[in-house]
């Protein structure tokens, strides 16, 4: 009996050793064989342009038969934490998509493998804005993927019902049409003339850019948050008054909770500011499931600026794809990226409502009437401060919290912007 107990203990101890070595062995074996690569893309691709992903994978597999491409779709909320965890574990994906405001921190930390742009398709005509977000210290660390400009997506029939046969060209007209819509339909307390989720800080910052303000400035290597400048306060005061009058969206949620396309498709909103891909998303089962006939009622226009003849500057958002420096399959990863950012896939990405990564394909969108206003909106644009720590400002929800504080009257515009600026100054100057 006793012998049996000892045997059991010895067996358990031996097993634990076996288990640990076995799992260690598995891991290294998987890496060496390289029968598959792992690709992390944002779920936007899954919802908006799955054909482009399939096209790239087909093209890649005709070049590398037998190599599986494991595409894993990520959400913007959690992708960076997951990426950090994979870096800590030494088990990163082979290809990863990051937003163009997120790349700086990762390039600065050495998380990306440097690349030779000339080896990639259309690199001589890459969009300048995206190319800049892939460049750090004179080297290129990622490949431009796509960009997006935001415009107002609206209901033509509702605008017509209050006497607007064409979209407003000035900010005063914009205010006028929305006032009329609220007067006519606002008795329904679910209705918003202009649906603006309170934490959609991209629109708030568009106002700041329109009034000549900046989020932060750099003097002699020191960053300073400047939203509490007179321009910033003026801009956000105008933003607040507009939103409180015309929007009944939540003031504590962002533009993904829910997607504005949902209340829009359900006739709860006459308009909202959205990316090009949000137009087709209105018809997606997850994005509002509008019937095909709804398309006839839809239109888009660049949001007018308070300065005559200009548009409200739009955030030049976009995405890049890169190869993590810890990837074990860098050359395969490069081949998949070449296929995905090549002309064939980028054409499909453009048709889905995005600005493609090369100026050569800009004509694709201009020919589609629904997408032309988005291309026009991109004539006036702004971007986040080019600082390695910028993404930490986004991750700490500084601007979302500020918008909520302003729109719920928890803080005055002056106090909310001063608090946000102090946080921004602190985060941007933190040593990495």
């Amino acid at each position: 009996m006793k012998a049996r107990i000892f045997a059991a203990v010895a067996l358990a101890a031996a097993l634990s050793v076996v288990v640990s070595t076995a799992s260690g062995g598995n891991k290294s074996a998987g890496k060496a064989s390289a029968s598959s690569i792992t690709v992390w893309l944002m779920s936007d691709a899954q919802a908006g342009w799955p054909a482009a992903v399939a096209n790239a994978t087909n093209q890649f597999q005709s070049q590398h038969p037998g190599v599986d491409v494991n595409v894993q779709y990520q959400s913007w909320d959690s992708v960076l934490q997951k990426f950090d965890a994979s870096i800590a574990a030494g088990d990163t994906p082979d290809v990863i998509e990051l937003g163009n405001s997120q790349t700086a921190k990762y390039m600065a930390a050495g998380a990306f493998q440097a690349i030779q742009p000339k080896n990639y398709p259309n690199s001589s005509t890459w969009l300048a804005g995206l190319k800049q977000s892939c460049t750090y210290g004179g080297k290129t660390y990622c490949v431009p993927y796509y960009a997006g400009a935001r415009a107002v997506i609206y209901r033509k029939d509702l605008y017509r019902s209050v006497g607007f046969r064409s979209p407003p060209k000035t900010y005063a007209k914009f205010l006028a049409v929305n006032s009329k819509l609220m007067k006519k339909y606002g008795k329904n307390s679910n209705f918003s003339a202009f649906y603006e989720p309170g934490q959609n800080w991209y629109v708030a910052m568009s106002f700041v850019a329109d009034y000549g303000g900046q989020i932060a400035t750099n003097k002699g290597g020191k960053w300073k948050g400047t939203l509490n400048s007179p321009q910033g306060i003026q801009a956000l005061t105008a933003f607040k008054s507009m939103v409180l009058k015309f929007s009944r969206a939540s003031k504590t949620n962002d533009e993904a909770h829910p997607f504005p396309s949902i209340p829009f498709a359900k006739s709860r909103a006459a308009s909202f500011i959205g990316n090009g891909w949000e137009w087709p998303y209105v018809f997606n089962p997850k994005g509002g499931a509008a019937p095909a006939s709804f398309a006839k009622k839809m239109g888009a226009y660049p949001m007018p600026s308070h300065i005559k003849g200009r548009f409200l500057p739009t955030f030049l958002g976009g995405s890049d794809v890169g190869i993590p420096s810890q990837s074990h399959n860098k050359s395969l990863a490069a081949d998949w990226i070449k296929a995905y950012t090549g002309t064939a896939s980028e054409t499909l990405i453009a048709k889905a409502g995005n600005v493609p990564n090369t100026t050569k394909l800009l004509g694709v969108n201009a020919k589609i009437p629904a997408l032309a206003p988005f291309a026009k909106a991109a004539n006036y644009s702004w971007f986040v401060p080019i600082a390695a720590n910028w993404v930490n400002v986004e991750n700490a929800n500084i601007l979302k919290t500020m918008c909520t504080n302003i729109l719920t009257n928890r803080k005055s515009v002056a106090k909310a912007t001063a608090d946000a600026s102090a946080s921004i100054t602190k985060i941007l100057n933190a040593k990495s």
Partner: protein, 321 residues
């Protein structure tokens, strides 16, 4: 685990061993308990002690994304601790954590006691129904439960606002429960307490069934009110159970994370920080892993103190029996 105790096994095995090697037998007998503890100790060391050691080590390092990529931190002594102790956000968060924990534990224990007392009085099939309801709440995975709650209180399409409006409580159409932190915390605390009640209620009910009804009847005959009987008879008898459930509730509620994180879509404003959220945001959102670890170490230290109290109470109770 074998159902046979090691002592019993050893005594059965004894006659054989005695005949052959008496010294080895004694040695083996002395070492056997340690041998048996070894697997469990190894597991605890691997899953608890090592991460804790690593956490403490990290808290004395500057460890950002740059260091993460290289898997190597920079030792900076106690600078992380100095920074958090000079941060007003840390103190606000600590006070809020203690306050929220206190409210949650009190509500959980009081409501669970009332439910347990109700269970004793109910007819058996209603008791079965109520117990089944409690078990369902308990069995719901916390992430699923939070998703259901967040749909119910949704700003745009939520059933809670719709129902309250229909019932004539007021115009709750487009009521934003998180616009005001007091009402936001009301929702979060309800969610935590709702999830915590079943375990406590069922445990207390199990305890109540052991309270002799003769004692309560005798008290009633002597003219004691129900409240008096509960206070002077039931409560002292249930003290061991209360010590356990209160201690466990404090430990659970102090480290609440999921409920806050998921119901705010992963974007809580600092008004909604508890220690665990604050540590997570600092570590994983801002990539200040050293600083985040220091916050976590402070949290572990506070929990450690609570655990000491808990263990001492348990040992005391053990002595009485």
């Amino acid at each position: 685990m074998s159902s046979r105790s090691p002592v019993a096994a050893a005594s059965v095995a004894a006659p054989y061993a005695q005949r052959r090697r008496p010294v080895g037998r004694r040695l083996r007998r002395a070492l056997a308990p340690y041998g048996l503890l070894l697997p469990a100790s190894a597991v605890i060391a691997a899953v608890l002690a090592y991460p804790l050691y690593y956490l403490v080590r990290l808290s004395f390092q500057h460890y950002g994304l740059f260091q993460l990529v290289r898997h190597k931190g920079v030792a900076i002594g106690t600078a992380n601790y100095a920074q958090i102790f000079h941060d007003s956000l840390f103190w606000h968060t600590l006070v809020r954590t203690v306050a929220v924990t206190a409210v949650c534990v009190v509500l959980t224990v009081v409501l669970a006691t009332l439910i347990a007392l109700l269970l004793v009085e109910l007819s058996s099939w209603v008791r079965l129904l109520l117990t089944a309801g409690l078990i369902f709440v308990w069995a719901t995975p916390v992430v699923v439960a939070i998703s259901i709650w967040s749909w119910m209180i949704d700003f745009e399409f939520g059933v809670a606002n719709w129902t309250l409006t229909k019932l004539g409580v007021g115009n709750f159409n487009h009521h934003d429960w998180f616009a005001n932190p007091w009402s936001g915390w009301g929702v979060i605390i309800s969610l935590i307490v709702w999830g915590a009640i079943p375990f406590v209620a069922i445990t207390l009910f199990a305890g109540l069934t052991q309270v002799s009804s003769e004692l309560l009847e005798a008290a009633a005959i002597d003219g004691a009110s129900r409240w008096r009987a509960f206070r002077d008879i039931t409560l002292p008898l249930l003290k061991p159970i209360y010590v356990i459930v209160i201690s466990l509730s404090i430990i659970w509620d102090f480290q609440v994370f999921n409920q806050i994180w998921l119901i705010t879509n992963g974007t809580p404003s600092p008004d909604y920080y508890m220690m665990a959220v604050y540590s997570y945001v600092t570590s994983f959102k801002i990539s200040e892993y050293g600083l985040g670890s220091a916050i976590a170490v402070v949290m572990v230290a506070i929990m450690g103190l609570i655990s000491v109290f808990y263990v001492r109470q348990m040992v005391k109770l053990g002595d009485v029996e």
